[in-house]
């Protein structure tokens, strides 16, 4: 053996020994020490399948719901939520199917739940029903108007406050509380269908506010309204450029 290594330069001989030793250790570990099952991929996959199977089942699937709640199931099947599973909203219900009285699935009633899908988001597909959760009928639970098992496509809102809730609330505590929205705005019927394309009007002249607030106003409602001289006050500006009409200030 010593003779064999003498053929090589000294550094090379030493390196050969080191690398052969490393290689031998590697081979021994791989061939002898590692048990076969550890190297067999199929076995590991089988273990993974077993492990997954061993996990507790929490979801029952909608067929299980349909057995008892057949009316709701039939209703949902025809509605817009037909592609949603019951447990999407009600949460895992396996425990409920096993003992219906003991565990009840959740019924989400808070206003943060539906907006997870229906809050306005520019990236959502066009035509998908979306609302602004702050302005859309504030404080009302979604289910008080929409039946979640058969949600109807958006109906035309009856009142302005359905969409403009913030303005409505502000106006309700202002001096303009008694004025209808339509006193100042003309809202074409089409605005309720395509709100962004067809917009309501805004008063464009000083004389409009002057109907109540001019010195010589004759309107009945204007009896106690603050009066100004239109000729002297505000020059060329339209009134709402300085005064916010939904919450006008009180200074006399």
């Amino acid at each position: 053996m010593g003779k064999f290594f003498e053929k090589f330069p000294d550094p090379l001989a030493r390196l050969i020994v080191v690398f052969l030793a490393l290689f031998a250790v590697g081979v021994i570990v791989v061939v002898v020490l590692i048990p076969k099952p550890m190297k067999a991929v199929e076995m590991q996959w089988a273990d993974a399948v077993k492990r997954e199977q061993g996990r507790p089942i929490k979801y029952a699937g909608f067929h299980a719901c349909a057995e008892c709640h057949d009316k709701l199931y039939e209703m949902k099947k025809k509605g817009y939520h037909r592609d949603l599973s019951c447990e999407t909203c009600h949460g895992p219900a396996k425990a409920h199917t096993e003992d219906p009285d003991k565990t009840k699935p959740v019924t989400p009633v808070e206003r943060t739940f539906c907006p997870q899908c229906h809050a306005y988001n520019p990236s959502r597909p066009r035509g998908f029903p979306q609302i602004n959760p702050v302005a859309h009928n504030p404080l009302k639970p979604c289910a008080s108007c929409h039946n979640p098992h058969d949600p109807k496509p958006p109906t035309t809102p009856k009142e302005c406050s359905a969409c403009h809730g913030e303005i409505a609330r502000m106006k309700a505590v202002s001096h303009h509380v008694q004025l209808e929205c339509t006193t100042c705005h003309e809202a074409p019927q089409q605005h309720k269908v395509s709100p962004r394309a067809i917009k309501p009007t805004k008063p464009q002249t000083r004389e409009f506010c002057g109907k109540c607030h001019a010195k010589d106003a004759k309107d009945k409602l204007a009896k106690n309204a603050p009066k100004i001289d239109l000729a002297e006050h505000g020059e060329k500006y339209v009134c709402w450029q300085c005064h916010y009409p939904h919450s006008p200030e009180v200074e006399q």
């Binding site: 000294d10 520019p122 990236s123």
Partner: protein, 412 residues
């Protein structure tokens, strides 16, 4: 969704823009995966600098030779730590070597790494230091004598035949080493470039861009270490050496910059479906790290600084200290820029949704295994390892003795 999971993402949820898929809220490849290509890049770059001396016979940068080899080794030892720490079960790392999965590019990294460490870097360092270690061991006593003896594999042969073989072997290893260094870092780029589903990564240019940014960061780091360590160990910085190394650094930055520019122009000209969300990401979420740090501070400013020393050559030739300062600032900025490059690739690639309709946000932890503290530790660790290596295999003689041209091994 699981309420507990939602709670952990509470801080992130308000930061999300547009629509993203639920599994994209949290960025899974975090800071550690940023640190990993940065450190690997330094290894490849430092090695390329070392090979300038051995293969391309650039005598001026000889003082950097051993330093760059030791730097490469110190960083290489730390490189996989970021990965195994990120995977969460560091104690299982050896299994990828024992039960190889050849169809997984990531698993094959173990072999690329082992090849580079065992067949290139350790061998080259061993051959460079063999006769030195024999000589040192003869003058020493105690532990250091034992360490040097053992590291020299108890070789005592300093005869002509062995020394001649050392030189031949070194040449051969360095020649094999260059493609290996390219493989090591090109591979890191390949991992990203081959991810078809991610348009920020999926580009054939990515491995090459990674390679050149690696060369840039490696050369810059070795220059920085040389400029800091030489005065600290009582030597004088050889400006001939630094000038030459900065020359190479300058060219490498230009190539790197051009490649990234080509990639950028190509993306903009192609204007595929993802271009909108990518441009929004670059202009908002990545503006500071990409436009300001990576491009402006990390490339354009250093290029300008180094060009200044070239344009006003005569003026700078008179004032060595000024030139040193300009180089010093340039290499530090380049380090910052390359780290930002890694950040932008890794984090940027996960910030936009596969829906191309939304952006998420990266929330960095402070403590914990994925946190800032651990990343800083990983970045500091190679410097500590380098300090130990420099104790065992001191490169100082070579670093100090460049001007006299005396670079032959001690004791021979």
């Amino acid at each position: 969704m699981n309420p507990e999971f939602i709670r952990t993402l509470q801080d992130l949820l308000p930061q999300i823009q547009g629509y993203i898929y639920p599994n994209e809220i949290e960025i899974h490849w975090g800071l550690l995966i940023v640190v990993y290509p940065y450190i690997t890049g330094v290894v490849a770059g430092a090695f390329i600098l070392a090979s300038l001396v051995k293969v391309f016979n650039v005598k001026e940068v000889q003082p950097l030779y051993r330093l760059s080899l030791l730097t490469a080794l110190a960083y290489l030892l730390v490189a996989p730590m970021a990965l195994v720490a990120h995977l969460g079960h560091p104690e299982r790392f050896y299994e990828i070597l024992l039960t190889p999965q050849t169809s997984s590019a990531m698993a094959m990294f173990g072999f690329v790494y082992a090849w580079y460490l065992m067949a290139v870097l350790l061998l080259e360092i061993w051959f460079v230091h063999r006769t030195d270690m024999i000589a040192w061991a003869e003058q020493e006593t105690g532990v250091m004598r034992f360490v040097h003896r053992t590291l020299a594999l108890y070789s005592r042969d300093t005869g002509d035949r062995s020394v001649a073989f050392d030189h031949k072997a070194l040449k051969a290893i360095t020649i094999v080493g260059i493609p290996s260094a390219f493989l090591l870092h090109g591979y890191v780029g390949f991992i990203f470039g081959s991810i078809k589903a991610n348009p920020w990564w999926s580009s054939v240019l990515i491995p090459i861009v990674f390679l050149f940014s690696a060369i840039v960061s490696g050369i810059a780091l070795v220059i920085l270490l040389y400029m800091v360590l030489t005065p600290l160990t009582g030597g004088k910085i050889s400006m001939r050496c630094v000038d030459k190394a900065v020359d190479f650094l300058f060219y490498a930055v230009i190539v790197d910059f051009s490649l990234e520019l080509v990639d950028f122009i190509h993306r903009v000209y192609q204007s595929e479906e993802e271009i909108k969300i990518l441009s929004e990401m670059v202009m908002n979420k990545l503006f500071a790290s990409l436009v300001i740090i990576q491009v402006l501070l990390g490339m354009l400013v250093p290029l300008l600084l180094i060009s200044l020393t070239k344009i006003f050559k005569r003026r700078f030739a008179l004032n060595e200290d000024l030139r040193k300062m300009v180089y010093f600032i340039a290499v530090i900025l380049i380090q910052m820029g390359i780290f930002a490059t890694r950040w932008n690739v890794v984090i940027g690639g996960q910030m936009f949704s596969k829906s191309f309709r939304g952006l998420t946000m990266y929330k960095m932890e402070f403590g914990g295994i994925e946190g800032l503290l651990f990343a800083i530790l990983l970045l500091a660790l190679p410097i500590m390892i380098l300090a130990v290596l420099a104790k065992i295999l001191p490169p100082w003689r070579e670093m100090h003795g460049a001007d006299s041209g005396d670079v032959e091994v001690a004791g021979s």
